[in-house]
């Protein structure tokens, strides 16, 4: 089989087999070059990587996982792994092919107004309708439909509903499967069912009473699915943690993926259910995955600058599309509302090369580029200019939970008092999302609230007056703000109960939780944390002392 080599910053030389580099060459896959992987560039300017390189990285790690299986599993299991290898790798390379522009910032716009865990939602209906036409047999479709509906409703901690981009990636895969299939030799086994299940994290239901051969077949397929998409350790996580860290330049824990994947194997429980597992030599790497993810969450993902940038971006996108609707479609019969235009933009058709037409406009291979162009057309709008111009931006008054607490004399009770005082304002501004309405805290907002029917209106106005009346040490006033909720406790959502470690033979295994304890932050969260961004620089200690005094004076705050 012909292969091509790509030099990757993270993994070194990546060997790509011909069918897969032909998939990479398609327009649908090349689109990922213009989907930024993270929102970290505002903090780490070097974090300029995209979904394209990440998908190739996951494909490479998928190959490594297969190699590990072949080395560590029984002959019977290896035969099954080899049979499904290409289907699994197809899932690896295509797992993000349906990603929205700006990745997770816009992901929920695929399914706006709807819930992803409802079967009836348009994204799920579309997936099921499409797969019904393409599934190899009715039996295969029937089993998929049943298992998929199960994970949508699941309260099981190891099975969870897919996210919007996963469903969209599955849809794009099905739509293009015939073409992708033609890149492989005719005798290659390509199981579309396994590929889309891998992308969605939708395991096969296995009846313990089934014959051993069928249990092994399904069991190994489930191992492959979990190796790509699960709440445990998977190749997707391994690539993005390493890539996001290294590309940012952030000094995180190093992940030795090769060591981990070299130890990949599987275990089967007493009733014959298979799970992927790792040999004991991988323990240190698993521990590092947990540490690295926690660290990334705490110091990058939840950094106030990153949060604010995402807020501005989302608002800028909402305002731009609203303006597009008002200027081009308000009088048209084709698009009835802003919501409908949003759905048209973030649709399956808009990801294709043919695109989606609405009026005279065609959007195809939707990426960051289109949204940036629309935003630039509206750059005269203050909120959009603030996204493009760093010197127009508000800045966070404090930059971490630690600083927040320090400014309140390191007294948790004071932090609780301030947090409790602010909560109604957080509710008003952040709990109900309006995509294009401004959330600035200023006199205009006070006037607006006075005209609305709000629970606890007087309290809300009191909080706003406190903020707007603030004068800094030098006596400057005229402060305006934005408030965003934030996290101050971080624990990795890796399901330690289902990460299995083998000590010796296959029968000698246990789960990670049993030997390492619960993978949670030891400090319990004691108060709701937030960031406040102001239009003028101010001393955080001075500001928080003022806020605490005012909060304390409010009779309804707990003491």
């Amino acid at each position: 089989m012909k292969t091509k080599s790509i030099k990757d910053t993270i993994h070194g030389y990546i060997q790509i087999e011909e069918p897969f580099w032909r998939i990479i060459d398609t327009a649908e896959f090349q689109r990922l070059k213009w989907i930024e992987q993270t929102s970290y560039r505002v903090l780490y300017p070097s974090a300029r990587h995209d979904r394209f390189v990440h998908s190739i990285g996951v494909y490479w790690l998928g190959q490594k996982a297969i190699d590990g299986f072949v080395k560590n599993c029984s002959n019977r299991e290896v035969r099954v792994v080899k049979k499904y290898k290409d289907s699994f790798l197809l899932g690896c390379i295509l797992h993000d092919i349906g990603h929205a522009p700006f990745s997770h910032t816009c992901e929920d716009l695929y399914n706006y107004q709807e819930k992803i865990n409802k079967v009836e939602c348009s994204l799920n209906s579309r997936l099921l309708e499409l797969y019904k036409k393409f599934a190899e047999t009715e039996v295969i479709y029937g089993a998929f439909e049943k298992d998929y509906k199960y994970i949508l409703k699941s309260t099981d901690e190891i099975c969870k509903p897919p996210s919007e981009h996963e469903v969209m990636s599955a849809i794009v895969t099905i739509q293009n499967f015939s073409r992708f299939r033609s890149f492989f030799e005719k005798d290659v086994c390509l199981d579309l069912d396994l590929t889309i299940r891998s992308i969605l994290g939708c395991v096969y239901a296995v009846n313990p009473k089934e014959p051993a051969e069928r249990k092994t077949d399904c069991g190994i397929k489930n191992c492959l699915i979990r190796l790509l998409n699960s709440s445990t350790v998977d190749v997707d996580k391994l690539d993005y943690i390493a890539r996001d860290t290294q590309m940012s330049g952030y000094d995180n824990v190093v992940l030795d993926s090769e060591r981990l994947l070299d130890s990949t194997c599987c275990v089967s429980t007493e009733d014959g259910v298979y799970y992927p597992a790792f040999k004991k030599s991988a323990l240190s790497v698993i521990n590092n995955v947990v540490l690295a993810k926690n660290s990334q969450a705490q110091w990058i993902v939840n950094h106030p600058i990153v949060l604010y940038d995402a807020y501005l971006l989302r608002r800028a996108i909402g305002i731009s599309i609203k303006n597009m609707y008002d200027n081009e479609y308000a009088d048209s019969e084709e698009i009835d509302s802003f919501e409908e235009l949003l759905k048209a933009v973030f649709s399956c058709e808009a990801l294709t090369r043919e695109g989606r037409w609405f009026g005279k406009r065609n959007v195809s291979l939707l990426s960051d580029i289109e949204l940036l162009n629309w935003m630039k057309q509206n750059i005269y709008i203050k909120e959009i200019l603030e996204y493009f111009s760093r010197d127009e931006r508000k800045s966070p008054i404090w930059k971490s939970n630690e600083e927040f607490l320090f400014c309140l004399d390191a007294e948790v009770e004071k932090a609780k008092t301030v947090s409790d005082f602010i909560m109604p304002l957080m509710n008003y501004l952040n709990i109900i999302e309006d995509l294009y309405l401004t959330k600035e805290i200023n006199n205009k907002l006070i006037e607006k609230i006075k005209t609305e029917d709000i629970d606890g209106k007087e309290e809300l106005l009191e909080i706003l007056n406190v903020l707007i009346s603030y004068t800094d040490k030098a006596g400057n006033d005229g402060f305006e703000y934005v408030i965003l909720p934030a996290r101050n406790t971080f624990f990795t959502k890796i399901n330690a109960k289902h990460v299995y470690i083998c000590f010796g033979s296959k029968e000698q295994y246990t789960d990670y939780k049993s030997i390492r304890g619960e993978v949670t932050e030891s400090n319990k969260k004691l108060y709701e944390f937030f960031y406040l961004y102001a239009n003028k620089k101010t001393d955080a200690k001075h500001f928080l002392s003022y806020l605490y005094r005012k909060a304390r004076a409010c009779s309804k705050i707990r003491t």
Binding site: T155, K160, P424, I431, D455, L526, K556
Partner: protein
């Protein structure tokens, strides 16, 4: 323009309604039904909820001062303060104040059909 209500508000208000009725163990199944009823009622006013089960686990992590634990199909509400009035005020401040009255009324109405049945 549609408005999306976060899962936290749905869960928080459900817990508030439970505490109003001196109930400190709430069924997750009831919470799911509550969200479905609420969703239906709010659709008319162009509001939507995004609640799903995973958010319950997040809620417990994010508000350990309100949730003591989750056991099988139940959520145990923290009653450390042993002061129902204070707990209600806190829940109200965190999840109700600042919300449109229209939404609050629908939440109260949806909860009645769950808690006051039978």
């Amino acid at each position: 323009m549609c408005k999306i209500i976060s899962s936290e508000v749905v869960i928080g208000n459900f817990l508030l309604e439970a505490v109003e009725r001196n109930t400190f163990d709430v069924s997750i199944e009831d919470m799911v039904i509550y969200d479905e009823k609420l969703s239906e009622q709010l659709k008319e006013h162009n509001y939507f909820t995004r609640f799903n089960f995973e958010e319950i686990l997040d809620f417990k992590d994010n508000y350990p001062f309100f949730v003591q634990g989750i056991q099988s199909n139940y959520i145990r509400i923290m009653n450390e303060m042993d002061n129902k009035t204070k707990l209600k005020e806190q829940l109200g401040r965190y999840f109700r104040m600042g919300m449109p009255t229209l939404v609050v009324n629908e939440m109260i109405s949806a909860s009645k059909s769950i808690f006051d049945m039978g």
